[in-house]
């Protein structure tokens, strides 16, 4: 009897050992990737690197200013497109959870969340690139906005659902009309959650390459025209990483480092906000 208990206990301990081993082993690839990118990228970054366009093959120097500007412009434009739609749709979902429209738009959020980003790229190609006759920053932004939407909607919806109904009642009982109740009481009270959803969605789209391949395309020159092709950080990394030149690889390492820093910072800030406000996303 005692021997059997000992065997069972040993088994239990062994099992825990295996679990702990696998659970921590998974952080190893992440740490290796992060350290490698930092090691390769940090030496590339300089003021010159941030303020110049890539140098042609064979010339040294050059930077990623075109991609920085492009990513900035396109992320801004997609935020302008996606945040109002996402917030209002999220408010609708949290306010009217049982309507038919809520069911179908909830379903559509789930669908959008699962759509491969390359498919969004294809669709925007036919919606915008073909009619406009050229790759453009606009079409890239619309593609990214569609990628942003589900995250903004879900975070808005879930944050607002967590707010106590008494808050809404308090405002309504003062004769505050519905739209002011939502915009001046409910949304400000859930602001932290909505904001972290927005930041998370930006962190996601800033690294998206696939939807940009057939929409914004790329542009080796500094351009701020939204009707022309535009470079972005991830697209620059893709082009330069798959090129055969060492200088270009270095440029891509530098760009990867910058991109990674953006993404990590956004994620960490979001984590801090959600932890402080105890929000589940």
């Amino acid at each position: 009897m005692e021997a059997r208990i000992r065997i069972r206990n040993t088994k239990s301990i062994l099992f825990k050992g295996v679990i702990v081993f696998f659970a921590f082993l998974i952080t190893v690839p992440l740490i290796i990737v992060l350290l490698y990118i930092i090691k390769q990228g940090v030496t590339q970054v300089s003021w010159h690197f941030l303020t110049h366009v890539p140098a042609p093959v064979g010339e040294s120097g050059g930077g990623i200013s075109n991609a920085l500007l492009g990513s900035f412009i396109m992320v801004m434009m997609s935020s302008v497109l996606a945040i109002p739609v996402g917030m209002f749709a999220g408010i609708y979902l949290s306010e009217n959870p049982h309507t038919k429209l809520a069911y179908y738009s909830g379903l559509c959020v789930d669908i959008l969340q699962g759509v491969p980003s390359i498919v969004v790229g294809i669709v925007i190609y036919f919606w915008l690139v073909k009619p406009l006759g050229t790759f453009s920053a606009i079409s890239g932004s619309v593609a990214l906005a569609i990628m942003m939407l589900p995250i903004v909607i879900r975070s808005t919806e879930q944050t607002l659902r967590l707010l106590p109904p008494s808050l809404k009642e308090a405002a309504l009982s003062l004769g505050v009309p519905y739209h002011r109740v939502i915009l001046k009481v409910i949304v400000p009270c859930g602001f932290a959650g909505i904001l972290s959803g927005i930041m998370l969605s930006i962190a996601r789209i800033i690294g998206e390459t696939a939807p940009l391949l057939f929409t914004a395309f790329g542009n080796p020159y500094l351009s701020s025209s939204i009707t022309k092709p535009m470079e972005s950080l991830p697209h620059l990394i893709f082009t330069y990483a798959t090129s055969p030149y060492d200088e270009w690889h270095n440029l891509a390492w530098g760009a990867s480092f910058i991109l990674l820093m953006f993404v990590l910072t956004l994620n960490i800030i979001t984590k801090l906000i959600t932890r402080k406000w105890n929000i589940q996303l």
């Binding site: 069972r8 088994k11 239990s12 099992f15 679990i19 696998f22 659970a23 921590f24 082993l25 998974i26 952080t27 992440l30 490698y36 109002p84 739609v85 209002f88 749709a89 609708y92 979902l93 009217n96 809520a102 738009s105 559509c108 959020v109 789930d110 669908i111 959008l112 699962g114 759509v115 491969p116 390359i118 498919v119 294809i122 669709v123 190609y125 036919f126 919606w127 569609i146 909607i153 009309p177 519905y178 739209h179 002011r180 939502i182 915009l183 962190a203 800033i206 690294g207 390459t209 696939a210 391949l213 990394i237 893709f238 990483a241 990867s256 991109l259 990674l260 993404v263 990590l264 994620n267």
Partner: protein, 304 residues
């Protein structure tokens, strides 16, 4: 004063209606976007569906130069990369779920590990691809030389390795939440009967969370199937299928997403382009169905 308030309240009523309409309108926009995506994909796939028929899906040859299109190599490439990645990732995502859900649900170490794993999903796929191309590929090449296959370095195996890492967070973070939801009276009941921790996990926690953990695996699979950039950089972009299984796994190949990424802007005639879009349509359907099934299981699980 009193009349002013009355006037104001009437103008406010108008705004209330407008505001409600905006909410409804934005929700409809969302539905329209999704319907639009579907319609566009179907419409643009029509030339290919018409001229190639359903046989396109199991056509073994993809040769745009001779105008022959068969999706079979990409279906195989996609399924193989995704399933190998899934198999590699499952032990990890289950281990993380059990460790953070049961053994160590609170405290700084638990939080640190959980946040680290969530960061895995935050790193853009292009960065995994780039790193894989320059660090992982040479390692795999050495390994391939040792086991006696052509040392390409790139291919299905390499892509699967990277994919496995990328998809772990999706199954893991769901698994953690679900395992934490196991009611403690259930566990205590088993402990009271003298069960060890392992026995409680095996005979109480696992059966209780099985469907939910499966849903997590489905979500991971959905990610893997649609993942584009990392795979595009690592799979080798070869549209012919290798003849032996070993060459297939370790040699270059193509997935649906990667062939679209590589050839879409080069597709110079209607059927070629349309054949690529049809791949996108298939990909759309498969990932959407997998995701919706996963979500349904989760909803049912959390409602019970």
């Amino acid at each position: 004063m009193k009349n002013k308030r009355l006037d104001l309240s009437y103008s406010q009523m108008k705004w209330e209606t407008i505001f409600r309409r905006i909410l409804i309108f934005m929700s409809i926009v969302l539905v329209l976007i999704v319907i639009g995506i579907l319609i566009t994909l179907i419409m643009e796939s029509m030339p290919s569906i018409k001229s190639l028929g359903i046989g396109y899906l199991w056509g073994k040859v993809w040769d745009p130069v001779s105008n022959i299109y068969g999706a079979y190599p990409f279906l195989i490439g996609t399924l193989l990369t995704s399933f190998i990645a899934l198999i590699i990732s499952i032990p990890f995502s289950y281990a993380v779920s059990i460790y953070l859900g049961e053994y160590n649900p609170k405290g700084w170490l638990s939080n640190l590990l959980k946040n680290t794993i969530e960061l895995i999903a935050a790193v853009p796929s292009i960065i995994y691809g780039f790193w894989g191309l320059f660090v992982l590929v040479p390692i795999i090449r050495t390994f391939e030389a040792k086991i006696g296959v052509a040392p390409y370095g790139i291919g299905i195996f390499t892509s699967s390795l990277i994919l496995a890492v990328m998809i772990i967070p999706y199954a893991a973070s769901l698994g953690i939440t679900l395992i934490r939801m196991v009611p403690s009276p259930l566990k205590e009941g088993a402990y009271a009967l003298g069960a060890t921790r392992f026995e409680v996990i095996r005979s109480v926690i696992m059966p209780f969370t099985r469907s939910g953990l499966f849903a997590g695996v489905l979500l991971s699979l959905g990610r893997a199937l649609g993942e584009t950039m990392a795979v595009t950089m690592l799979i080798g972009n070869t549209s012919t299928l290798a003849h032996t299984f070993k060459d297939l796994i370790f040699g270059p190949s193509n997935t649906m997403a990667s062939v679209i990424a590589n050839e879409f802007t080069e597709a110079d005639h209607t059927v070629y382009l349309s054949a690529l879009i049809e791949l996108g349509l298939v990909l759309f359907f498969v990932t959407v169905v997998i995701n919706l099934i996963g979500k349904r299981i989760i909803t049912r699980f959390t409602n019970n």
